[in-house]
Symmetry: C2
Subunit: 355 residues, 2 copies
């Protein structure tokens, strides 16, 4: 007997490493809606932490008037905020840099879109109050491990400047796509920072501390810095806001196509404002036409775009997409090279052969 | 409560296309034993066929003395043969060709190893007998679809020269790794042709015919030919035997490593004889040392190899592996470029940074 489920064809996460687990979303094969949790990209610095959920409390301390220990129950009872956001690893597209850079060779799928629900960090800081001199809010995760460069064990921890920490859309999330956040994505509580690259959205929150200075943990002061030079650290500056960017989903790179009309489609996103236009070139950047944008589903989501391309003549074509945002930012033709390979956002490009 | 299964970290198939389904084995993350069926690479020319297994009979006809219709039951009762073989898509590593070629951009995972059980095709042809003039045996699958280059519908079909068809290890398989072959890999019957690239191992066998001439179906005379030239078909010759080859599994390409000893490991395989040695270079091919080979698990399997590399000095390294077989074939430094990108077998190479 034929079993129809054997015919199901589906994409999977793309494995970059297993220790720690780093896998990307098969972005070329996703529709533009929310990414289901099992296909949400996974990016870890360490092996998964071991948590005892039965006794989970969140401490908020440091330069606050009233340090607190909040229970999960309390957090679930506070007024919630829901945000649909693009979460993008700052190493997304790293493999495209020339000269090539070392590290996880992310292609175009270290990015996902979905809906997070939680309590604004701001609401909790209103409960604790802030002491004079408060400058940054440090969020520490339960994940930890040895850094061989420093020969020492560190927790994963990141800070936000007060302004970002107090933004009403910066939330302590407990749900993803209407379900409790899955373990691998930060259960029970995960910081969600819209418009910033994913390193800011700390998983498995262990502690929140308010400090008076610039946080200098290694995941802030060593990693997640743009180093413009190969041989020295001069001119380094921190990775924060997501760059304006786009990705072609169809056709696939190096595809063979027939003559005729083909839909070129993709996504575009930015960490500042909204995407204002996406231009497509089918002649290696000589001429550009505007693609058709889908409606924004929320302030922080990506937009889908399409362009109906009439491939009349046989030959090889270089297809590019170039997004611009409402802050006047446009994808550059060449990426801003940096030694650790963060923030790649050059015009996206593929090649196809019409035959 | 913490659920340990949420911590399971595993690799997945790597999606190249969904229509038809083409997905590769995450070869960097596999141990050297048999590939489990869910991670066996999938390579299809068309969408999956619809079969009515309840009434399955295999016709063998053409230039035979006694044409027959064999039931599955009969096939299962005949003396069986079991072969452990490397099955490799001839497009494996296509994405590495320079200049790049169009088509599915297989990386290094269009290859799998496993145990197939079935009845030798020879046994069936002994039942039918061969008429004088018999030259090739054509095996047709149930999968079919339109070829846009010919504007016509074709079944997937391939032929074998008599000598290969009559080899006792060329089998009509019904089991993979001790289970009935899964639907996506050719259930109920699949031709298995050891030492030839995977296109010969026709899935979902519909019919076997003996013919007096060279088979000229499009998957034989158009596809699966090496075309040495970009602009014309001169000098074309058919894809048959697997080339001598090797793949580095560890470290990962572009990995950052500490100073110290690292195990470089990988696999090597060939379609002629056995792997006689695998040499490794950690200085971009200037000097070579022999890796340690594992025991062969069967005549047609791949071998694993390892080399303990002492990375004493910081810096960037180009690591290569070069396999040789018992027929005196050695992987070349440069692949033999061909327009459709078949049979890539240049020395495998990765880069790492020791810091």
């Amino acid at each position: 007997m034929e079993d129809p489920k054997h015919h199901v064809v589906k994409p999977y996460l793309v494995t970059r490493s297993l220790q720690p687990e780093n896998q990307e979303t098969p972005i070329q094969f996703m529709e533009s809606d929310s990414i289901p949790k099992h296909l949400f990209y996974r990016r870890n610095h360490f092996s998964y932490p071991k948590l005892a959920y039965s006794n989970y409390f969140l401490p908020i301390n440091g330069l606050v008037t009233n340090p607190i220990l909040v229970s999960l129950q309390t957090i679930l009872q506070l007024p919630s905020r829901t945000v649909e956001i693009v979460l993008e690893c700052s190493g997304n597209k790293r493999s495209l840099f020339e000269p090539k850079v070392f590290g996880e060779q992310w292609k175009k799928g270290a990015i996902s879109l979905g809906v997070w629900k939680g309590v604004p960090l701001r609401s909790l800081l209103e409960v604790t109050g802030l002491k004079k001199g408060a400058k940054e809010v440090v969020v520490e995760g339960y994940d930890f491990g040895e850094r061989s460069d420093l020969d020492k064990v560190f927790s994963y921890a990141r800070s936000l400047p007060l302004e970002k920490a107090l933004h009403p859309d910066t939330i302590i999330a407990y749900e993803y796509n209407n379900q409790p956040i899955s373990f691998k994505h930060g259960h029970p509580l995960r910081l969600i920072v819209p418009q910033w690259y994913g390193m800011a959205s700390v998983k498995w929150i262990k502690q929140i501390s308010v400090i008076a200075s610039d946080f200098n943990g290694p995941f802030q002061s060593i990693d997640y810095q743009y180093y413009p030079n190969q041989d020295n650290d001069n001119g380094a500056y921190p990775v924060t806001t997501i760059h304006v960017n786009s990705t072609i989903q169809k056709p696939l790179d190096m595809a063979k196509l027939n003559t005729g009309t083909h839909v070129i489609k993709g996504i575009a996103w930015t960490g500042k404002g909204k995407i204002s236009k996406v231009e497509i070139s089918t002649d290696h950047g000589d001429t550009w036409v505007e693609g058709k944008l889908s409606q924004y589903s929320s302030n922080y989501s990506w937009v889908s775009w399409t362009y109906d391309w009439v491939a009349a003549k046989k030959g090889m074509y270089s297809i590019m997409s170039r997004a611009s945002d409402s802050h006047g930012r446009t994808q550059p033709m060449k990426p801003v090279w940096n030694r650790n390979g963060y923030g790649y956002n050059a015009v996206d490009r593929i090649k196809v052969k019409v035959e």
